[in-house]
């Protein structure tokens, strides 16, 4: 142990420390160039047919379970076209890669799956092709109003809707009945009443779980008629003080502050166990849920049923969308006609939609939603109930004129930091949490150069 040896070594360690600490994030940079126009394109749907006949190669990013089979079916129908399917990660993982590729000016796919809430973000940065340039606005009547509205921004069409998630109430009939709730709640007042009965019957059981989820909260505000996210060009306004939002918070606070909700976080192992053993007795969520229940709460087969989402007045059926994606053409695409043709086939051709339905997806196309073959399918898991009938009816009662922020993906990421930390760690008033969320969103929007009202 000579000191001559030891000191340089420790010095090396110190330098290495600095290296590791600094190097860990040195590599993430962002370019400044935004996707430039590849010359103005203008055409009609016949250009798309021509592009399909001519053939070529395109890249498609998606994480949907049906993508692989759909691409195979497409290549079979159009042998001259080669589609390279890439799973670039689920939602935010893929968006990060997509944004980086768009900023870098190359490397983006021709077609990408984009969830409805993220469409405004890419529309704002002018990264997506307006599909109206190929006359796809003619397809409007094929889709539900709410999904079509989600891909239309300022008269431009930034993608074609694939699936949709009109919200409904999935509930464990057995637990409800045991607690003396024999009829599915149709109003929120009845729902709160049921929550009390279920929790009183067995303190381990809760009517539902809410650990603080920005997407869920937004959809619930949407259903209540709120308009918290307002966008006018580069001006943003976040407002959780409007009547609709207050309607939701007043109602939900009665469950939340009274400790009538489980705080098990969604999509975790414990959550699925709760859905299986009945300790989470209902879910207010999108119509894409049945497949997830069948796969991950198989033990509760026969217990669950579907009913329309409860309403505030008990007369007019109204719901909101929760989740769902569109497929968009990225402006960087070298072959926009072929990419658009692929999107048209993917989300409009019956052959593709058949594959999509087979994988358990919930469609956005009115033809399928109105097709008795779809709506009258009896689901074994749900005790032979025709669940699609309830869900398809929900699809036509989505409240109109909803908006997401062009920074919505980030907004959902920081919901836990703000509203979650404030309200959901201690059964606190949800309004206080939403106020924190608004403050953080305003700060972020200002940093990003928006005018905040």
């Amino acid at each position: 142990m000579s000191r001559k040896f030891r000191n340089p070594l420790t010095r090396l360690v110190v330098v290495t420390g600095a290296v590791l600490a600094l190097g860990s994030l040195a590599a993430c940079g962002g370019g400044s160039s935004s996707g430039s126009d590849e010359g103005t394109v203008a055409g009609t749907q016949s250009d798309l047919d021509a592009a399909l006949a001519k053939g070529g190669e395109i890249t498609y990013w998606s994480w949907t379970p049906s993508a692989k089979d759909q691409v195979a079916a497409f290549e079979k129908a159009y042998p001259k076209v080669k589609v390279k399917l890439v799973n670039a990660g689920t939602n935010t993982d893929q968006y990060t890669k997509l944004t980086n590729a768009i900023n870098a000016g190359s490397g983006a796919p021709d077609v990408a799956q984009i969830e409805y809430y993220a469409v405004p973000q890419y529309a704002l940065s002018d990264s997506l092709l307006d599909l109206n340039t190929y006359g796809l606005n003619e397809l409007e009547s094929s889709y539900t109003a709410s999904t079509w509205g989600s891909v239309s921004v300022d008269g431009k069409l930034y993608g074609l809707p694939q699936d949709s998630g009109p919200m409904a109430m999935f509930y464990n009939k057995k637990i409800f009945t045991e607690a003396g709730v024999t009829k599915a709640p149709t109003t929120w007042a009845e729902y709160i009443d049921a929550a009390k009965k279920i929790h009183a019957k067995n303190p381990k059981n809760f009517i539902t779980a809410d650990s603080g989820d920005g997407g869920f909260t937004s959809s619930m505000i949407w259903q209540a008629g709120g308009h918290p996210f307002n966008v006018d060009g580069n001006t943003l306004n976040v407002n959780f003080e409007d009547e609709g939002t207050k309607k939701f918070t007043t109602m939900w606070n009665q469950l939340h502050t009274a400790g009538l909700l489980s705080d098990t976080p969604g999509w975790t192992d414990e959550w699925f166990r709760g859905l299986t053993d009945g300790s989470i007795a209902s879910l207010i969520t999108g119509a894409w849920m049945p497949g997830n229940l069948e796969a991950n709460a198989a033990g509760a087969s026969g217990d669950w049923a579907v009913a329309p989402i409860p309403t505030y007045d008990g007369t007019t059926a109204v719901t909101a969308e929760n989740g769902g994606s569109a497929q968009s053409v990225i402006k960087q695409s070298k072959n926009p006609a072929l990419a658009t043709a692929f999107v048209r086939w993917l989300n409009h051709d019956p052959a593709s939609i058949e594959v999509f339905l087979k994988s358990g997806g919930f469609p956005s196309t009115t033809a399928e939603l109105g097709d008795p073959a779809f709506t009258e399918t009896k689901s074994k898991y749900f005790g032979n109930q025709e669940v699609n009938k309830v869900l398809a009816a929900a699809a036509s009662t989505v409240a109109p004129n909803w908006n997401y922020l062009p920074i919505q993906a980030y907004a959902f990421t920081i919901f836990g930091d703000t509203a979650g930390k404030e309200s959901y760690t201690k059964n606190g008033d949800i309004n206080a949490g939403l106020a924190k969320w608004k403050a953080a969103l305003d700060t972020y929007a200002k940093q990003q150069g928006f005018t905040v009202k």
């Binding site: 860990s24 994030l25 976080p265 166990r273 930091d417 990003q448």
Partner: protein
């Protein structure tokens, strides 16, 4: 342990000093060159790029612009950053000593030659370090579950209300995972150092009538001082870079393990969720400087104690 110095002087210089001097510089670079090239490419260049990035701001509206030191002044007033820094400092001050003391005790126990099955003990302690961090954290996540995990079963069995994920316990829970993972690693550093102590020293101590306590105080601990300093510095770096454990546990408790829970998580989320790469680079640079300064202070302190 002084070196014999008589042999050095016996070789006389054989060439004129002028020529030799010019060739010496050139030859040195051949040896250092490959290292310097790689070092410049993978260290200096990204670092310089990060510094460069930190002087810009890229906005969704308005694009990229040079802002000088604005990002740094913003960071000075950023409560999220300071809270996360204080959190890892707290973690450092409590978790690192506990971990190192356990490691030290284990190393001495194994080295004492009184332990039955010392090899098995050594491997068992080291094994957690071989478990990938992601797997380890997921495993602990299951154990910590207060409804269906081991803790939940414990609560049911003995009627306790433990919740390792509650806001007051979460840092302790993370500290436990880190300690579990790294005790074996540090133990190995200490153990190898103990193995290098010449047996004569122990013999001499025994002849002088020193007991185990004195052997530890007078021989083992002084010998371990160097590796203690190194292990401490490694642990400081590890604490400041705390990321894996909280980030993997985050989906289980997003309201408590926030996106700005540790400085590294904050930088990561700024860059990859918030598209604020420039500000993230600023956070990374400031954290690098803080880490280097604290590690350097520890190193100075470590060598000073030896002089006394």
């Amino acid at each position: 342990m002084t070196m014999a110095s008589g042999t050095v002087r016996s070789v006389p210089p054989s060439r004129p000093p002028v020529r030799r001097k010019s060739r010496k510089d050139w030859r040195g670079w051949i040896f250092v060159g490959p290292f310097m090239a790689v070092f410049a490419l993978v260290f200096i260049a990204p670092l310089a790029y990060a510094v460069y990035l930190s002087t810009f701001r890229n906005q969704l509206i308005g694009g990229n612009s040079f802002v000088g030191l604005d990002n740094y002044t913003q960071l000075l007033h950023d409560a999220s950053f300071w809270h996360s820094l204080i959190r890892v400092l707290l973690f450092l001050v409590i978790q690192v000593p506990i971990m190192l003391i356990i490691a030290l005790g284990a190393a001495m126990a194994i080295d004492s030659a009184r332990l039955y099955g010392a090899n098995l003990f050594r491997i068992a302690l080291f094994l957690p370090y071989a478990v990938p961090a992601v797997v380890a954290v997921l495993m602990w996540g299951f154990i910590y579950g207060d409804q269906f995990g081991l803790v939940g079963q414990l609560n049911d069995a003995i009627g306790t209300g433990l919740d390792p994920f509650s806001s007051s316990w979460i840092l302790v829970s993370i500290g436990n995972i880190v300690t579990w993972s790294f005790v074996g690693y540090n133990m190995l550093i200490f153990y190898t150092t103990l193995k290098t102590i010449p047996a004569e020293l122990y013999e001499a101590a025994e002849l002088d009538g020193a007991g185990q306590f004195w052997i530890i105080r007078a021989i083992k601990l002084p010998a371990l001082r160097g590796s203690l300093v190194i292990a401490t510095i490694f642990s400081i770096i590890g604490s400041f870079q705390l990321f894996n454990e909280p980030n993997i546990l985050r989906p289980l408790k997003e309201n408590i393990i926030t996106t700005d829970y540790t400085p590294n998580m904050y930088a990561y989320n700024l860059a990859f969720s918030g598209q604020q790469q420039n500000y993230a680079a600023t956070v990374a640079i400031v954290m690098g400087v803080v880490t280097a300064v604290i590690a350097y202070v520890v190193q100075l302190r470590g060598s000073r104690t030896e002089d006394l």
